[in-house]
Amino acid sequence: MMTEYLLLLLSAVFVNNIVMVKILGLCPFMGVSKKLEAAVGMGAATTFVLTLASGSSYLINHYLLGPDLAYLTTLSFIVVIAGIVQFTEMVIQKTSPELYQTLGIYLPLITTNCAVLGVPLLNVQEKHNFMQSLIFGAGSALGFTLVMVLFAGLRERMEGADVPGIFKGSAIAMVTAGLMSLSFMGFSGLIK
């Protein structure tokens, strides 16, 4: 049981990394990774939202909707997530204005960070129980944070690189993300 949970967690963080393998959550990944601190902040905020969203969406799906109202899944999930994000946004603005400024337009966009909706939907699809949903949510968010932070490190270093003019900025960041995802393919098959 414990091992199963652990494997689920590791799989969500590395093998099925939400950004590199599932290609979800790319907008904040590209947008908030220019500075290491911002990446850490975004990671933390997303982890908070994603874990909460995984748990609450499980409860909603299980107790409020049931099979009859399956057509409301997306709608209800997204509304709940939007609410959680809005709440988080207000709290951050109050407690850490710099983080608020750095996260900029990406903070409200956590709502549309595909990962945040994608993970609860995947939970439903994979028929995860409550505990599994939470672990999968947290694991995905940790994986998101991990690659964000690593990516931010790479981007900070690349600021000094002699990148050809037309590739400066987001183009080379994209290529880097590509090579990262190439590397992450090395995990494939590790946990089936």
Binding site: L154, S188, G189
Partner: protein
């Protein structure tokens, strides 16, 4: 002569790279001895492609071509890539891999010294993902297979994809020893019986253990010439040994002995030539240890549980991602700030 210091120690990038190329030679000699000269063809092909791509990219980037072509780094990338591709790979495979390595993973970042990812390993990873079937057909060592291809037959296959008569590709190639082990274990084979197969020698594959030995010799040369420091090879090999040894002790029927891991696949090449690429590895001693330990662990995991026959390339790339952070977090204490910071 405008700035101090006005004197410099005689050394150059091109000489360093040349030494590394030189150090590869023992391994290559063993390679040719056991598998025939096809590998030399791949190496030549890769070298020409690398130089051409390098020159083209430098022109496009509006940089002087001659000094960079002379730095030998493209040649080194080409050789390392060629050594990790099956020698009988079709010519276009070598060309595509080398071009990708030099153009995308090196020059898009600004060329020599600027690339965060190991170009040769990017080339390898691209190839194994895109053309897995070509990338898993390795030559059978001389004397093991039913048929041995002559040099002209090898050339014919590389450039035209034609094998003489009715010989099938399977007859002259095999999966690598690592791959075979994995496949057999997958089919519930027993370690002992598997390792008794004719393709295995003293520690690992009949030919590949000698090739690895050659790379070990070359690596030691690099160490004594102070071109590489001990941290990366030692940390990598020790980690690989420790993890595989521990699991081998637990269940010898399912886990290969540690020396098998050392002398098969790209472990030795990786330890001394690939992970040590100065451009893409950490610069601090502590960072190098962390980097190499991580690579050792990942190599083992990918080899034993993962989807690829060998893990060195992906382990290298995965650890490359974390180099900036490792560097930042392992900054050694500066003179006079030992206990302060």
């Amino acid at each position: 002569m405008a700035f101090s210091p006005f004197i410099t120690k005689p050394s150059s990038v091109s000489e360093i790279m040349l030494q590394v190329l030189f150090a590869l030679i023992p391994g290559i000699l063993f390679y040719v001895w056991f598998y025939g000269p096809a590998i030399l063809v791949s190496m030549l092909l890769a070298s020409l492609t690398a130089l051409a791509t390098e020159a083209l990219m430098l022109k496009l980037r509006n940089r002087p071509v001659a000094p960079f072509l002379k730095d030998n780094s493209a040649l080194l990338t080409a050789w390392l890539l060629a050594l990790s591709i099956p020698p009988l790979a079709p010519w276009w495979l070598v060309v595509v891999g080398t071009m990708f390595a030099i153009s995308i993973s090196k020059h898009l970042y600004g060329g020599l010294g600027n690339n965060p990812f190991n170009p040769a390993m990017v080339g390898y990873a691209v190839l194994i993902i895109s053309f897995p079937s070509y990338m898993t057909h390795w030559l059978t060592p001389d004397g093991l297979g039913d048929i041995t291809l002559g040099f002209s037959d090898q050339l014919n296959y590389i450039f035209h994809g034609i094998l003489p008569g009715d010989i099938k590709l399977d007859a002259v190639t095999m999966a690598t020893p690592l791959d075979t082990l994995k496949t057999q274990l997958h089919m519930n084979g027993q370690m002992k019986t598997i390792l008794d197969m004719p393709i295995y020698g003293h520690f690992a594959g009949v030919g590949s253990e000698w090739v690895s030995f050659g790379f070990l010799l070359g690596g030691l040369y690099l160490f004594f010439r102070r071109i590489i420091s001990w941290h990366i090879p030692v940390a990598f090999l020790v980690t690989l040994f420790a993890v595989s040894g521990a699991l081998h002790l637990v269940d010898p029927s399912r886990y290969a002995p540690p020396l098998f891991h050392w002398f098969s696949g790209a472990a030795m090449l990786g330890a001394f030539f690939i992970l040590t690429d100065p451009v893409t590895s950490p610069t601090t001693p502590k960072g190098r240890m962390i980097f190499a330990c991580g690579a050792g662990l990942l190599t083992f995991l990918i080899r034993v549980y993962g989807g690829f026959p060998d893990g060195v390339a992906f382990a290298t790339l995965l650890m490359n991602i974390s180099v900036p952070l490792i560097d930042a977090w392992t900054q050694p204490a500066v003179f006079g700030r030992k206990d302060r910071s």
